[in-house]
């Protein structure tokens, strides 16, 4: 346990010490639910379906919560609106899980940046104001960025260089850095930052978009090693992160790694290999025409490794028995086959 985590533990204990009996009673009654932002997304639904069986779940999302379980209290509003403050104030929130990060490459970068940064700063403000003792942020391993000279397994302490070649990632790095800053400044709040690698399953993200392409593009002369993580394992990681006493930054990835070409073969795809410069041009043009859900800078993932060291999450979150990379590939194949 690091000095910061000990400090955070101590801080959390002192926070639980109320000033008066009345307040203690009120906290005991009210501090019982987990607030999930972005709960109507595919990963959010999986999380909420697991959490609602064991505790009260409050959802905030701009999308309608028709698929949410009946006992989940859903608020169909924009977190940036003033009304959301009341939800944090009155709902009795013991922890906030922030999944409501916009990744959609079809949205303008200004809109994404505004949403991601403003929403998160609002959440931090509410957590500080209403002394919510736990925050779990779903960041991404993409914040490290794929680089030719990356260590084979990047640890949590590595500098976030993802924005150096991919300007679209800067808002995610800003959110991650803001959470880290909050982690240091507010030891009374247990802050957990999860940085999962490529998530596979029912989610709609870059890697699943890539897996759906009939002839996925590969960069000639490059074959980086890749890791995958199953969405259910990520839900388990969030669940473990919600336990009292857990704080810190954790990389999350399933066991095993494979060269990208093997993953494409196992997905039963016949790849199209292009020189990296041509590939960048093709993806750049297709991206501008909104023909693919990939960005030009994501070509780097087809060339350089960005694998994470998961020893800390295995040790502290107790993540064992996760889906290995073969199981993840089978899951991706299964999800793609089930789509209409």
């Amino acid at each position: 346990m690091t000095s910061r985590e000990r400090q955070a533990d101590g801080g959390a204990k002192s926070e639980k010490r109320p000033r008066s009996r009345t307040r203690a009673r009120r906290q005991a009654v009210e501090a019982e639910g987990v607030l999930v932002t972005g709960a109507c997304g595919r990963l959010g639904l999986q999380l909420v379906r697991r959490l609602h069986r064991i505790e009260k779940v409050i959802s905030i999302d701009r999308r309608p919560g028709t698929l949410l379980p009946a006992d989940v209290v859903h608020h169909d509003i924009d977190i940036r609106r003033r009304k959301s403050r009341d939800i944090f104030r009155t709902s009795g929130v013991r922890a906030v899980v922030h999944l409501g990060i916009m990744h959609d490459p079809r949205r303008s970068s200004a809109e994404r940046h505004s949403w991601n940064v403003e929403v998160f700063s609002s959440i931090l403000q509410y957590i500080r104001t209403y002394r919510i003792p736990k925050l779990v942020l779903m960041s991404t391993a993409a914040v490290y960025g794929p680089h030719p000279d990356n260590p084979q397994f990047i640890t949590e302490d590595t500098t976030l260089m993802g924005g150096a070649r991919d300007p679209e990632l800067r808002d995610l790095i800003e959110v991650d850095m803001a959470a880290q800053s909050y982690f240091w400044r507010n030891p009374q709040c247990e802050t957990v930052i999860l940085r999962p690698t490529h998530i596979v399953g029912t989610v709609r993200n870059g890697v699943m978009e890539y897996a759906r392409i009939k002839r996925p593009l590969l960069a000639m002369g490059f074959d980086p090693m890749v890791q995958l993580v199953h969405e259910l394992d990520l839900v388990t990681a969030i669940e473990r992160a919600l336990a009292p006493g857990v704080s810190g930054i954790f990389n999350v990835a399933g066991p095993g790694q494979l060269p990208l070409t093997r993953v494409v073969e196992d997905l039963d795809r016949s790849p199209l290999r292009l020189p990296s410069r041509v590939l960048r041009t093709v993806i750049g043009l297709s991206s501008q025409l909104r023909a693919v859900g990939l960005r030009q800078a994501q070509v780097d993932y087809l060339m350089y490794p960005c694998m994470v060291d998961t020893s800390r999450s295995r040790r502290k979150l107790g993540l064992a028995g996760m889906h290995d990379i073969d199981a993840c590939i089978l899951e991706a194949r299964h999800c793609i086959a089930e789509e209409p």
């Binding site: 030719p148 002369g221 090693m225």
Partner: protein, 298 residues
């Protein structure tokens, strides 16, 4: 539950335009128990769920057949002291020479083909090479790793055998006048060995200096290119002898493992004293090897 084809016993085999019988014959020529040696290495990495750095024996085997021919027939390598190779983590520290890192290739080939218990030798390559198409894939498939401290830590934690040339580029680019005179050693390998408590195994390579004898250091070009030396090998001045290295006979000696104790973060002077011991040992081994050889080419 469906299984991936890769998981079955019918592993994908690279198809080369040679009859299988020819390749099998070549395997047996290189080592009568080639299959057993290949199996030992495969099983080692299969037990770990594959190599995290991308080593692929199905690919490396074909490279081994080529380097094996050079090892047995071209350089006719004579390896001594193979029993000194540790079974667990260790650092092989060798002199570096010959303009191209053929010495490293020969050490690696010898440890697979001739060692009582075959071992894959891992070495580190410069970061710039990892951005080159084909080169980076080739290097990782044959078991080489990008030169990062995190990577060397991981390799030693996994019980791998690391080959280190502490002279670096300065050593390999020596001109022929300085043949077999060791250049300054870097200190990094000693800090690594102290941090992991693993043995240092000194290795001397005699014969590599003569493969591309550099007769002149083109200092002006070196300055312009921003590199320490720009050696001009004999083959460049006498093009009729061809671009291939001269078929000098390699004599590789693996010394007894050396254990050091101390703080890996000690000052350079303290680490330097330990490094001097290793350097001195290798220099003595080189001198002994040179004294015992009858001729450069046989």
């Amino acid at each position: 539950m469906p299984r991936l084809s890769r998981s079955s016993h019918d592993a994908t085999v690279i198809d080369l335009p040679f009859p299988r019988a020819t390749i099998d014959r070549l395997r047996r020529t290189l080592a009568p128990d080639f299959e057993r040696r290949a199996q030992v290495i495969r099983e080692h990495y299969d037990a770990q769920g594959g190599d995290p750095f991308g080593f692929d024996f199905d690919f490396a085997e074909y490279v081994l057949l080529v380097t094996g021919i050079a090892y047995r027939s071209y350089f006719r390598v004579e390896m001594k002291g193979l029993e000194n190779v540790p079974s667990g983590a260790g650092l092989l520290v060798a002199n570096h020479s010959g303009q191209l890192p053929i010495d490293g290739v020969m050490i690696g080939t010898g440890l697979i083909l001739d060692a009582p218990e075959p071992r894959l030798v891992r070495s580190m390559y410069d970061k710039w090479a990892s951005g080159l198409p084909w080169v980076s894939v080739f290097l990782s498939r044959v078991g080489q790793v990008v030169g990062r401290p995190e990577n060397s830590d991981l390799l030693l934690d996994n019980g791998e055998l690391l080959l280190v040339f502490p002279e670096g580029m300065k050593g390999i680019q020596k001109t022929f006048q300085k043949a077999y005179q060791l250049d300054e050693f870097g200190l990094g390998f000693m800090r690594l060995a102290l941090a992991h408590g693993c043995p240092i195994v000194p290795v001397s390579v005699v014969g590599a200096e003569e493969q591309y004898p550099a007769v002149w250091d083109f200092k002006y070009l070196a300055r312009k290119l921003g590199i320490p030396h720009a050696p001009v090998p004999l083959q460049a001045l006498l093009p009729f002898i061809g671009p291939l290295p001269l078929p000098s006979k390699y004599r590789i000696t693996i010394g007894e493992p050396m254990m050091f104790e101390g703080d890996p973060d000690d000052e350079d002077q303290i680490i330097g004293e330990k490094v001097w011991v290793v350097r001195h040992t290798i220099q003595r081994m080189l001198e002994k090897g040179l004294a015992s050889r009858r001729h450069v080419f046989w």
